[in-house]
């Protein structure tokens, strides 16, 4: 059992550090501010969630971390090194699984390794050993169209994991799944995370999901997004799904709901 303490005192070096990040888009000739001075950080091996109303700019924030967009103001530092490029430290799992329909599951999960120019056979061997952890054993040669929704998301997560990056950005990965599959996937994600201990930055608009999974939670305001609330989730780990009805859990949930509705 590991109990994680507050990292407000910066016990861990942040692998993601965003300081005063602001971004606006020009829509129909008008400046539309999306992010308003957002500051967040994710420590090494930490699980941090970002909750916010839909359309509040969560995905824009991820695009900035990935290097797909540049912030208008503010600082983005990855792995403590301002010169480090996102492609070397960040692995991104979008909301859609984006598995390539023309590749088998095995060849899909090694995609990032292939792009990096690694030996394909070596990557395949490594992937085969992990298939059962990701619940995909026996489906190595299947095509994505033959998989269920949950399996597709697991394959997408495996692809993200196998990229061997320190930071995983997961953008509402379970958003499209039914409630039961979703609950299973959350427990399973914690197991996977526990094994690999990579930093996970997780976007969701499901409050319970965020509390259940995370060490810390940031709550964003509606657009333009600011951090409305920043909470440590000091629930003991490993967590079982029953804990969503515990008084501590409900107290946190109430606090987050208030933050979401009062802004």
């Amino acid at each position: 059992m590991t109990t994680r303490e507050s990292i407000n005192n910066l016990k861990y070096d942040p692998v993601v550090l965003l300081e005063g990040v602001a971004k606006s888009f020009v829509v129909g000739g008008k400046q539309l501010p999306i992010l308003d001075e957002v500051s967040v950080r994710v420590g090494e091996g930490e699980f941090v969630s970002l909750i916010g109303p839909s359309g509040c700019g969560k995905s824009t924030l991820f695009n900035i971390i990935c290097g797909l967009e540049r912030p208008d103001r503010g600082r983005v530092v990855l792995a403590g090194n301002e010169n480090l490029r996102a492609v070397d430290t960040v692995s991104y799992m979008p909301q859609k699984d984006l598995l390539l329909p023309w590749r088998t599951v095995l060849d899909n999960v090694i995609l990032a390794r292939e792009v990096a120019g690694d030996d394909r056979e070596k990557a395949r061997r490594e992937a085969k050993e992990l298939m059962s952890l990701f619940g995909l054993a026996g489906f190595e040669k299947s095509y994505p169209a033959e998989l269920s929704g949950g399996m597709r998301q697991r394959a997408a997560l495996m692809r993200t994991m196998l990229a061997h990056r320190n930071i995983l950005l997961l953008d509402e990965p379970f958003g499209a799944l039914d409630a039961i599959t979703r609950t299973k996937m959350q427990q399973w994600l914690l197991e996977v995370w526990n094994r690999f201990r990579r930093a996970i930055f997780f976007i969701t608009h499901d409050i319970e999901e965020a509390i259940f999974l995370s060490d810390r939670v940031y709550v964003l305001t509606p657009r333009p997004a600011r951090v409305a609330l920043h909470l440590n989730i000091n629930l003991p780990r490993p967590r079982r799904y029953e804990c969503v009805t515990a008084p501590d859990f409900l107290a946190i949930k109430k606090q987050i709901m208030q933050a979401l509705t009062s802004t």
Partner: protein, 256 residues
């Protein structure tokens, strides 16, 4: 596989064709149309049987020109599509030229091809290539443009180069569209070769047709037309087969 093929034989289409042939046969007999003007299907069929060795011999040349030209067209089209995918600026420069090239009627530049390449197989191959590359190039280029933008973004975050993105995402994503274009090109290929032969050649179905029409042997002309259709149909089936073997994932997905 065999059963699937049998199931897919278009019974209705064959039925309609049989009815049309019967009407044609009856029409010719009732109106007493001269055979040199419009031969009945029965006469065409006899001509086909009689001339078969000769027709097959000529077909070899035409088919060779068609296949060579089609292959060249595919290579040219693929190179063009990939080059256009490398950057939007190249695309903006090349695409209008491609469209413009199609406004030139091939038949009008054919005499030039004879001047440049003589009476051998080369001018026929060039005609086929000119006719066939456009549908393939356009379908490939459009297919690459239509690739999932989020997949491209994903590769970008993985640090992929433009060429890696083309190789891993754009080309595979465009293959279904590519094969659709190739089927169109496949049906043009025989026609292109025959037109090339009309303009001057010593052998080939086009030559056979020219000679037959000069001798008012309409039945032989029809027989040649039947051979051309048959070969075009086989080409189409061959492309369909290659397509099924190359992109099985696409057919599986479509079935669902």
């Amino acid at each position: 596989m065999i059963f699937r093929l049998i199931n897919r034989i278009p019974v209705t289409a064959l039925g309609i064709m049989a009815v049309l042939l019967v009407l044609w046969e009856a029409g010719v007999h009732i109106t007493g149309m001269p055979v040199w003007f419009l031969p009945p299907p029965s006469r065409v069929f006899t001509a086909l049987v009689e001339m078969l060795p000769q027709l097959l011999d000529h077909s070899r040349y035409t088919l060779l020109a068609a296949l060579t030209g089609l292959t060249a067209a595919v290579l040219v089209a693929l190179v063009l599509a990939v080059v256009m995918a490398m950057s939007p600026r190249i695309r903006q420069g090349v695409y209008p030229l491609l469209v413009f090239s199609q406004t030139i009627p091939i038949i009008t530049i054919a005499p030039l091809l004879i001047i440049w390449f003589g009476f051998g197989i080369m001018p026929k191959v060039v005609v086929v290539t000119l006719v066939c590359f456009f549908p393939v190039a356009v379908s490939m280029a459009e297919g690459m443009q239509a690739a999932d933008a989020d997949m491209v973004k994903l590769l970008q975050v993985m640090g992929a180069s433009r060429w890696q993105t083309i190789k891993l995402i754009l080309i595979p994503a465009a293959l279904p569209s590519f094969f659709a274009g190739l089927k169109i090109a496949g049906t043009y290929a025989m026609m292109g070769a025959v037109i090339g032969e009309w303009l001057g050649a010593s052998s080939g179905l086009g030559v056979f047709m020219t000679r037959a029409s000069h001798a008012y042997q309409a039945d032989s002309v029809f027989a040649a037309i039947m051979i051309i259709s048959l070969i075009s149909l086989l080409l189409f089936a061959l492309i369909e087969l290659i397509s099924r073997l190359t992109i099985p994932w696409y057919y599986n997905e479509r079935r669902k």
